[in-house]
């Protein structure tokens, strides 16, 4: 057992830290306030390979491993959780299923430009009446002989509107139920009958785009079926197993970011004639935060390492996400408290970080869903 990062992973952290501090941090507060999707940052991430970290070079990626990918999302989220989730949703939820289930033609056509970051990706599973109960899909796909026809709507889709390629789940045979009745499709922006609906106004990650996807007699070419007919639920669940590593890394980054700015604040803020860093109650609070952050980090890197080694990592990525999300809420709430009144204002980044942290307990499976995944591994389904 070796808990040291490899040379590659250390360099990835060094590179992404520098990129994040220089390119992302200076605009993080503004894009949050303006609810503005940072398209310029997406272009920069593409140029430096940040949008295809764990995808092999032969398919346009950086050829990295999943720990390097987790470090990438962590370091971006340390300064801006919105930017972190743009990278995570694109990589985990669109590039990965194309890599795992795509035909060679689909990989050449879709995965290569996505891994290079020339195109942005998204994933559509959630519906108004199919959230945690993801199997209750109402979006229908009908085989029309020479094409598929999709009808229905998806909600809360990260990168919606800005993505060029969407992996969309739809019911192809309701009689077969969740397992066997759902199929996955590759839908391009601009396909006839596909449009973007409502854009959500959110509590946090305000610079990321979250929209509705609307399908009205949407024409999808036959060759855009991903995997086999009826494999959709399996594709979605295995995609989310990996996606949880990305969201856990986002939560970890938010926690680390809040921790780091609080350390700086405690050294400079003076009350009762001494800096906050000299008060033992606050020191102990920071010790507790750091311990939880390190525990979350180890859970995440372990799940990522298991994924790289083709081990059954699903319950482990669920544990990583559950714990990292709770840690993000714990640390950011304390960080605001330690900043006092200033922490409640938008002049300090902890206010944004606390709002951003909450979603990590909800999307890509709520904390309750993670407990379902973990307990199913203990007791069976």
């Amino acid at each position: 057992m070796n808990f040291q990062l490899t040379k590659e992973q250390e360099f990835v952290r060094k590179m992404v830290r520098k990129f994040a501090v220089t390119e992302v941090e200076p605009i993080a507060a503004d894009i949050d306030k303006e609810h503005r999707f940072p398209i310029e940052t997406v272009e920069k991430m593409a140029r430096y390979g940040l949008l295809g970290v764990p995808i092999p070079k032969e398919y346009g990626g950086a050829g990295g491993d999943n720990i390097s990918y987790a470090i990438t999302v962590e370091e971006l989220s340390r300064v801006c959780a919105s930017t972190g989730v743009i990278c995570s949703a694109h990589t985990s939820l669109c590039a990965w299923p194309l890599l795992a289930y795509g035909t060679e033609e689909q990989k050449q056509k879709y995965l290569v430009p996505i891994a290079k970051g020339e195109k942005l990706g998204a994933f559509g599973l959630t519906e108004p009446n199919a959230g945690t109960d993801a199997g209750s899909q109402q979006t229908r796909a009908v085989d029309k002989g020479d094409h598929w026809e999709l009808n229905g709507a998806k909600v809360f889709i990260t990168n919606g509107g800005y993505a060029d390629v969407y992996i969309v789940m739809a019911m192809t045979d309701k009689s077969k139920g969740t397992r066997g009745g759902i199929s996955a499709f590759i839908v391009e922006k601009g396909f006839e009958g596909f449009s973007i609906g409502k854009t959500e106004e959110k509590m946090g990650i305000c610079a990321s785009s979250t929209t509705e996807l609307v399908f009205q007699n949407c024409i999808v070419p036959k060759e855009n079926l991903l995997g086999q007919v009826g494999e959709g639920f399996k594709i979605a669940m295995s995609t989310l197993d990996g996606g949880r590593i990305g969201i856990a890394a986002q939560a970890l980054g938010i926690a680390q970011g809040a921790f780091d700015v609080t350390v700086d604040y405690m050294k400079s803020r003076r009350q009762f004639g001494r800096p906050l860093s000299k008060f033992q109650a606050l020191q102990f609070g920071m010790a507790e935060m750091r311990t939880r952050i390190e525990a979350a980090r180890l859970l995440i890197y372990n799940a990522a390492n298991m994924k790289d080694n083709n081990l059954k990592y699903g319950p482990y990525s669920a544990m990583a996400k559950l714990y990292a999300a709770e840690t993000a809420m714990y640390v950011t709430t304390k960080a605001v408290q330690f900043h006092g009144g200033y922490g409640f204002t938008k002049d300090y980044p902890v206010e944004r970080m606390m709002r951003d942290a909450k979603i990590t307990e909800i999307y890509e499976g709520t904390s309750e869903v993670q407990k379902m995944v973990i307990s199913a591994d203990i007791f069976g389904k």
């Binding site: 990835v12 590179m15 390979g49 990295g64 990438t72």
Partner: protein
């Protein structure tokens, strides 16, 4: 056009993290992260910009330092350089600028043909700005220091050389040596894919033997420089402030002062 470019780079302690020992008045280097010297990153960036334009261009980065200086070469390769060579040998340890430029000149000769050598103006640890110029002298090639703008037309190079209060425009032919300042460009980052290639890359290590360098010209004993004391130089004065009762009088006073110094006729 397929140019051969050599970039000289140095691994230095991150001065943002350096503390001064209050008793000994020396730098405390323990636990301080090492970084690619800032001006050297500008030197490499200019070479990479040429490679962007002429993809057949080959960039070799050389650095002299302890074995861990290999990390600097990994960083340069991950930014886009083609080859890294580490010059490292106990016999070279403690070299001052004169001895260092002897070793670097031997390395450049061993590499063979080149069109341009880019180096940073100076390293943030030693701040001498001597190694680049000494290297050019020892190779017998033209040099321009403090380059803030670079352009190329065939094999003719035009640069702007920064002065304290302006710049010079200089044309020169290859092969030549140029030292970069931060105004020259904004260095790019490493790429993630580049990192994965760079860590696996073969980075040769050349010692005194491989360089075939005279041992009387390298290392601590051969170095003519002795450092007696490190100190922070006094900041430059504020300059002369001219204040008169009216704008006209102030302008007149300024005019007279400039005429006195023959800056204007």
């Amino acid at each position: 056009m397929a140019l051969k470019i050599i970039v000289c780079a140095k691994q230095v302690p991150d001065t943002n993290e350096v503390k001064i020992d209050p008793v000994k008045n020396t730098l405390i280097r323990e636990g301080v992260p090492s970084i690619l010297n800032h001006d050297d990153a500008n030197a490499l960036e200019e070479a990479l910009k040429i490679k962007d334009q002429y993809p057949d261009t080959h960039i070799t980065v050389i650095t002299m330092g302890p074995p861990q200086a290999k990390d600097l070469l990994i960083e340069c390769l991950a930014m886009g350089a083609d080859k890294g060579i580490l010059i490292s040998d106990r016999a070279l340890g403690g070299s001052d600028t004169w001895a260092t430029s002897n070793a670097l000149a031997a390395a450049v000769k061993k590499i063979g043909d080149f069109d341009i050598i880019f180096a940073g103006r100076q390293a943030i640890d030693g701040d001498t700005a001597q190694v680049g110029p000494q290297l050019a002298e020892k190779l017998g090639i033209p040099q321009v220091t403090y380059v803030k703008e670079f352009s190329m037309d065939g094999k003719e190079i035009t640069v702007k050389r920064a002065l304290e209060d302006g710049y010079e425009v200089i044309k020169l032919q290859m092969p030549c040596m140029l030292t970069a300042i931060k105004e020259l460009n904004t260095p790019r980052y490493m790429t993630i894919g580049g990192i994965y290639d760079a860590v696996k890359a073969d980075i040769p290590v050349w010692g005194a033997k491989e360089l075939e360098v005279d041992l009387n010209k390298v290392g601590l004993d051969a170095s003519p420089t002795n450092v007696f004391r490190s100190f922070t130089p006094a900041p430059k004065g504020k300059g002369v402030m001219i204040e008169r009762d009216t704008v006209e009088e102030t302008a007149k006073a300024l005019l007279e002062m400039l005429q006195e110094k023959y800056i204007i006729a």
